[in-house]
C-alpha cells in the first residue's frame, strides 16, 4: 500500500437476467447493500455516491438513497452510454483521490429484459410535406437509408473494417469468439444465459447484422452492480481481513474520441481505447503481458476482436491469429471474458462497467469458485460507450 492509492473494499453484482418482481431501484439497492456488507461498512461511512441508470431517466442516486440511507452526502447521477458504470466508479475514485472523503459508493443498474435489440432509435414518421431537420438537413430519418444506426450493424462494420485492414477474420472467426464466451458462461451462476452453443448453432442462429447473428449480440437483461471504494489511509485502519480482500485500483482511466477522419461516419472505438489502455498501463506500471484475466466490452462478437488489438493483448494487426492460438480461452495465456461476457452474462448497460470490475475482483480475491483463474493477481476491465467514452480499470490483488 502506498499513500494515495484507492481500493475496492466491497463489491457485488446481482444475478443478471429477468427480474420481473424488482424495479431498477430494488436491483440497485440490493447490489448497494450487498457491496456495503461485503466491505463491512454502512451508509454512515460513505462520503460520496455516484449512480447511473441509462434508460431510467434522472435521479437514480437519490432514489437509491431513499431506499438504503439518506445521509446528505453529495450524490452524482451519471450518464455515459455503456461506460456509465465505469464512470460512476471513476467519480467515486476521483472524490477519494482528491481527499474529499475516505469512502464512497458507486452503483449501476438497468432493466432491459424484453427491450429488443439496441438500435439507433425509432424512425420518425415521414411528414406530409418534406421538411428538413437535424444537422444533416434530412427530410426523413437517415437510419436504413444512409447506412445503419443499429448497434449490431455499427459494430459489425467495426469488425469488418478490421478484417479489411488486416485480413484473417471472417464470419466463422467472429462466431468462434462468441462460442468461447458462451462456453465460459456455463461456469458463471450469475450470467443471464449459461448455455453452451456449438459453432453451427451460432452461425445458423437468426442473422441480425452480418456477420453478427443473435448469439453474437449482447444479451439484454436486468441487473445491478455496486462497489464501495476506500482510501489507502482509511484501509490501513480496518481489519486484516478487510485489507486482505481489498483490491487495489492501479489505474482508473476515462477517454473520449479524439478527432479522426472517419469518425463522423463510423464511430471510432479503436483510438480512444488504445489511448485509454496506454494511459492505464503507464499509470499502473503494468503491461498487457502481466494480465491474468481481462473483461472487455464484447457488446458484439465483432467488437471483441478489435479490442484484443486495442488493449495491446496481441501485436498490432494480429488479433485474428491471437484468437486462433487459443490465448483468450479460460485456459489460455490471456483469458478474456471468463464471465461469459456481454454476449451471455448479459449487458444491463449502466451495471456493466461495475459488473466487469466485480468479475475481476472475484478472481483476484480467489473467490470465483468453479471458474476461478488460479493464482490471478492482476486484471483489467474495459468498457466502451458509443459516442464515445472508454473506461479502463486495472486491478491488483492485495499483497497481504
Amino acid at each position: 500500500m502506498s499513500s494515495g492509492d484507492v481500493w475496492i473494499l466491497g463489491i457485488n453484482m446481482t444475478k443478471f437476467g429477468k427480474h420481473t418482481d424488482k424495479d431498477t431501484v430494488d436491483l440497485a439497492a440490493q447490489a448497494a447493500m450487498a457491496a456495503l456488507a461485503d466491505g463491512g461498512v454502512t451508509m454512515a461511512d460513505m462520503g460520496v455516491l455516484a449512480a447511473g441508470c441509462l434508460m431510467g431517466g434522472g435521479g437514480i442516486a437519490q432514489m437509491i438513497q431513499k431506499q438504503i440511507g439518506q445521509t446528505g452526502i453529495p450524490a452524482y447521477n451519471v450518464s455515459n452510454a455503456c461506460a456509465t458504470g465505469a464512470t460512476a466508479l471513476r467519480v467515486v475514485y476521483m472524490s477519494i483521490k482528491s481527499g474529499e472523503c475516505d469512502f464512497g459508493l458507486a452503483v449501476g443498474v438497468e432493466k432491459l429484459s424484453g427491450v429488443g435489440l439496441l438500435s439507433g432509435g425509432n424512425r420518425k414518421d415521414d411528414g406530409k410535406t418534406w421538411n428538413r431537420f437535424g444537422r444533416y438537413g434530412a427530410v426523413a430519418s437517415t437510419d436504413g437509408r444512409i447506412g445503419t444506426d443499429t448497434m449490431p450493424g455499427v459494430f459489425a462494420q467495426v469488425g469488418m473494417e478490421y478484417a479489411h485492414k488486416y485480413g484473417g477474420a471472417d464470419f466463422k472467426l467472429f462466431a468462434q469468439i462468441s462460442e468461447k464466451n458462451h462456453a465460459h458462461s456455463t461456469l458463471n451462476p450469475l450470467a443471464a444465459y449459461q448455455k453452451r452453443f456449438t459453432l453451427d448453432e451460432i452461425m445458423n442462429d437468426m442473422m441480425i447484422a452480418y456477420p453478427n447473428t443473435r448469439a453474437m449480440c449482447s444479451a439484454n437483461c436486468d441487473g445491478g452492480a455496486a462497489a464501495v471504494l476506500v482510501s489507502d489511509a482509511k484501509l490501513k485502519t480496518l481489519s486484516l481481513e478487510q485489507q486482505r480482500r481489498a483490491v487495489k485500483i492501479s489505474a482508473s482511466v476515462l477517454t473520449s474520441d479524439p478527432y479522426e477522419e472517419a469518425c463522423q461516419v463510423l464511430p471510432d472505438v479503436n483510438t480512444l481505447t488504445r489511448r485509454a489502455a496506454a494511459q492505464a498501463y503507464a499509470k499502473a506500471g503494468i503491461g498487457p503481458e502481466d494480465l491474468d484475466l481481462v473483461e472487455l466490452h464484447d457488446c458484439f462478437a465483432t467488437a471483441e476482436l478489435v479490442h484484443y488489438d486495442n488493449l495491446g493483448l496481441c501485436k498490432p494487426g494480429e488479433a485474428a491469429d491471437f484468437f486462433k492460438s487459443g490465448a483468450t480461452w479460460r485456459d489460455g495465456s490471456t483469458p478474456v471474458n471468463v464471465s461469459g461476457g456481454l454476449e451471455s452474462k448479459g449487458h444491463p448497460i449502466a451495471a456493466t462497467g461495475i459488473a466487469n470490475v466485480w468479475e475481476v475482483c472475484h478472481h483476484l480475491r480467489g473467490e470465483a469458485g468453479d471458474r476461478q483463474i488460479q493464482g490471478a493477481k492482476v486484471g483489467l476491465a474495459h468498457v466502451i460507450g458509443l459516442g464515445s467514452a472508454c473506461g479502463i480499470h486495472i486491478l491488483e490483488k492485495s499483497g497481504l
Binding site: Y136, A140, G144, G147, T150, G153, V265
Partner: protein, 131 residues
C-alpha cells in the same frame, strides 16, 4: 416533371449528383453535418468541398433486423472516396455475403425515396458496384 429535392443537404443533384462536405479552411477536415467549429483544429471557417463519386468499400454489414418501416435486408457500408469516408447503403447488388465484398469498387448513384403531398420527390444517394 415533378420537382426534386435532395434527401440530405450534403447531396447536390446538379450538375450531376455528388456529395459536398464542409471543409475546414485551416486543417482540411471534412464534415457532412453542420458544425460550429472544426472538431480537429477548432477553426470556424469552412468552405464547400466536392467529394469524389467513386470509391471502395472499406467496411460493410448486411442489416437483417432494423427499426419498423426499414426494408431488410440492406447493405450499410463505409466507402472511402479518394480519402474521405462516406456512409451509405449499397444498391443494385444482392444483399448477401457472396455478392458484397470488402474492397469492392463502387460509385454514387441516386434514387427517389418518395413524394410528399405537393408531389415533390426526395432523392437520396446510394452506392452501386462498378461493373
Amino acid at each position: 416533371m415533378s420537382e426534386q429535392i435532395p434527401f440530405v443537404e450534403y447531396l447536390h443533384l446538379a450538375p450531376t449528383p455528388h456529395l459536398v462536405a464542409h471543409q475546414c479552411t485551416s486543417c482540411g477536415a471534412r464534415f457532412f453535418d453542420r458544425r460550429n467549429a472544426c472538431a480537429s483544429c477548432f477553426g470556424t471557417s469552412f468552405a464547400d468541398a466536392d467529394i469524389a463519386t467513386e470509391g471502395f468499400v472499406r467496411s460493410f454489414t448486411i442489416v437483417s433486423f432494423a427499426a419498423p418501416g426499414i426494408p431488410v435486408p440492406f447493405v450499410s457500408a463505409i466507402i472511402e472516396c479518394d480519402g474521405t469516408s462516406v456512409r451509405g447503403n449499397l444498391t443494385n447488388v444482392t444483399a448477401d455475403p457472396e455478392h458484397v465484398s470488402l474492397g469492392m469498387k463502387v460509385r454514387l448513384t441516386t434514387y427517389v425515396v418518395g413524394s410528399d403531398e405537393a408531389g415533390t420527390e426526395a432523392v437520396n444517394f446510394a452506392f452501386e458496384p462498378v461493373s
